[in-house]
Symmetry: C2
Subunit: 374 residues, 2 copies
């Protein structure tokens, strides 16, 4: 699919995303070297997702740092739509959010939108999205968030707090606006239309609770930005700061650029619950974009930009920039053939999965330390 044909909404990501175009389309700001330097002043080091501009854009991050430097500390808010098991792509903003929590000592609200996924997925019942919520929460906890500073909640279990606030947001959002931003149609159900109000609440919830304005930073996959484009217009009308946002790119599909995302094809990604065998198989079947034969690949080389295996290293599995460059170069110059390339990655992924799955099992006893219910 041509880059022109991409679609990025909270409910559909399709085509090969042109992030430069998306910056213009969404009206977000690229993260530049000055901003990175400002962050580094406080964090001492830069997470590889910042160095590599995997977190590539933002809204009002400079303002957030101004406030922070004035002593006005921020809290974090991110979320998960529990439509199924967690895949590796979901981990990107979560891993980065944990880093931010560690570096800034920030409180985190983690919203699980079980209502949303029920409303948007015809085949799912609330019981299903609740079950997936608790599966996903195991992955969140497994990443090592601070239980004293991390508050995870399901919309349907925390709605005595959320709903009255959502109603305050909803009063300021017309159908016109929701339709323009989210593309609702006459057939859209009225829960879908309302839903963005629920997602807006954690962006000012700490201000409600502390009865004073507290800055909020939302790390998210860029597909979720439309919710906050709307919410940011509403917040000042309720007397709150607009939340700052930092946007990540989306983990490319294992099946290559422009192919459909995970929900419709489990071969396109690896779930944290996949067995070693399944994960290996998916990787061995991944798209590399290498030449059709080993001989041609040695002669002509491949393109790491479209190689799923290279991209997996880049996004998640090799923190060392120099090593990533070596892998990319080996792909480029044809010295690394697809089989070996995939087998190397498979080792890394399987190692990660085994450790993660162990932590995930241990997390079962930790849930109540993290969960927030009314």
């Amino acid at each position: 699919m041509a880059k022109e044909g991409f679609v990025v909404t909270p409910w559909e990501v399709r085509g090969e995303i042109d992030y430069d175009k998306l910056i213009k389309q969404f009206g977000i700001s690229p993260i530049d070297e000055n901003l990175l330097a400002r962050i580094k002043k406080h964090t001492k080091e830069l997470h590889f997702m910042l160095r590599r501009k995997i977190f590539f854009a933002h809204r009002d991050l400079d303002w957030l740092l101004d406030e922070y430097e004035k002593g006005n500390e921020f809290y974090l808010y991110t979320g998960r739509g529990p439509s199924g098991h967690t895949h590796l792509g979901h981990l990107i903003p979560w891993i980065f959010t944990k880093w931010l929590q560690d570096k800034f000592g920030a409180k985190l609200y983690f919203q699980i939108t079980d209502d949303e996924k029920f409303l948007f997925k015809r085949e799912l019942e609330l019981e299903d999205t609740k079950r997936f919520s608790y599966e996903n929460i195991l992955d969140i906890i497994a990443l090592g968030f601070d239980p004293k500073k991390t508050f995870i909640f399901l919309d349907t279990e925390y709605c005595k707090t959320l709903y009255p606030q959502a109603v305050r947001v909803a009063k300021h959002i017309t159908f016109s606006t929701a339709k323009a931003v989210f593309g609702f149609k006459n057939e859209s159900n009225i829960g879908q239309i309302f839903f963005t109000s629920m997602q807006a609440v954690p962006a000012f919830l700490e201000s409600v609770k502390r009865k004073k304005n507290v800055p909020c930073l939302i790390p998210l996959g860029v597909d979720q930005d439309p919710h906050f484009r709307v919410a940011r217009d509403v917040m000042p009308k309720l007397g709150y700061y607009k939340p700052a946002i930092i946007h990540s790119k989306l983990l490319p599909s294992l099946l290559g650029p422009g192919t459909k995302m995970s929900a419709s094809d489990p071969r396109s990604t690896i779930y944290t619950t996949d067995s070693e065998e399944v994960a290996r198989k998916k990787i061995m079947n991944a798209f590399t974009g290498q030449q059709p034969t080993a001989e041609l690949q040695r002669k002509l080389g491949g393109n790491p930009e479209i190689c799923s295996v290279c991209q997996y290293y880049y996004f998640l599995f090799e923190e060392d920039d120099k090593k990533v460059e070596e892998i990319f170069e080996a792909e480029r110059n044809g010295s690394l053939l697809a089989g070996e390339h995939k087998a190397d990655l498979a080792e890394r992924v399987v190692k990660f999965l085994k450790e993660h799955q162990k932590k995930r099992e241990k997390a079962r006893d930790q849930i109540e330390k993290f969960i927030l219910r009314d």
Copy 2:
């Protein structure tokens, strides 16, 4: 305003209502003598609001009685939109609901839609609608509902129970449907569009709680019917009975037929919180439709159908049908002049208000016996 020009929606009642037309327009069934006889079989006597067809229409009341006669008991559900103080018109469905509770020993859910009134009234904050909720609850309790069988709740205080169920309803209501039934526009806010889902929930809440299908009867002012027209389509899709409904006419304005309703003009009705002086003054200024002079009135007589004073007796202040007929006849034959007519009613109303206000004060200590919170 001509009878052709009337409008009846949950948020606007305008013009002189033609109830026969409304029956056709809403697709509801008139209450006939057979149905009254069936009710009387169980209640022994008929409430004057039934005898006079103040409760004039229904949906599936015959089905509800079939179920009741098979031993499948029903529960009651009614509600209040707390946009201000309670006026006498609001009491009509409540008084009748209490009678039903007494006669059938039925459990009652009483929903206070503070979220709705906040969403639909630009000038009201949630704090305002909550304050009015608790004012209105005093009036409800003052009417003598059984505290063991009556469960009153505010949407914003019971939303941990209501919201997840509302989402289940919302999934089955398209924007098209909501727009067609409620007349939403592009400027409507997304909370308004969602709201009907919240009002639907108590119509099946008892079935959710008891994990079995329980018939529900909703006594309401006919202006609220559109909510349940939509809800009744959804209920079977969730596996529940459609609720039965019994519809009341709306108390006419003190200012005469076709004049605007209370919200826009406090002279048009009497609030339960009005002082004796205010109530007397409103009644003495009421529209009677009598002739311009006493002489002409004695000669030509008046029309009780358009006389607010006669209508107040009919709807609320004279339970004895014979006495109502005497009052109507005295208006018709010109023997009862406006001044005396009004003064007589004022006595009745003031007596009612004094007693009600006493009970209302006593109700302050009773609230916690009735209220349901998550």
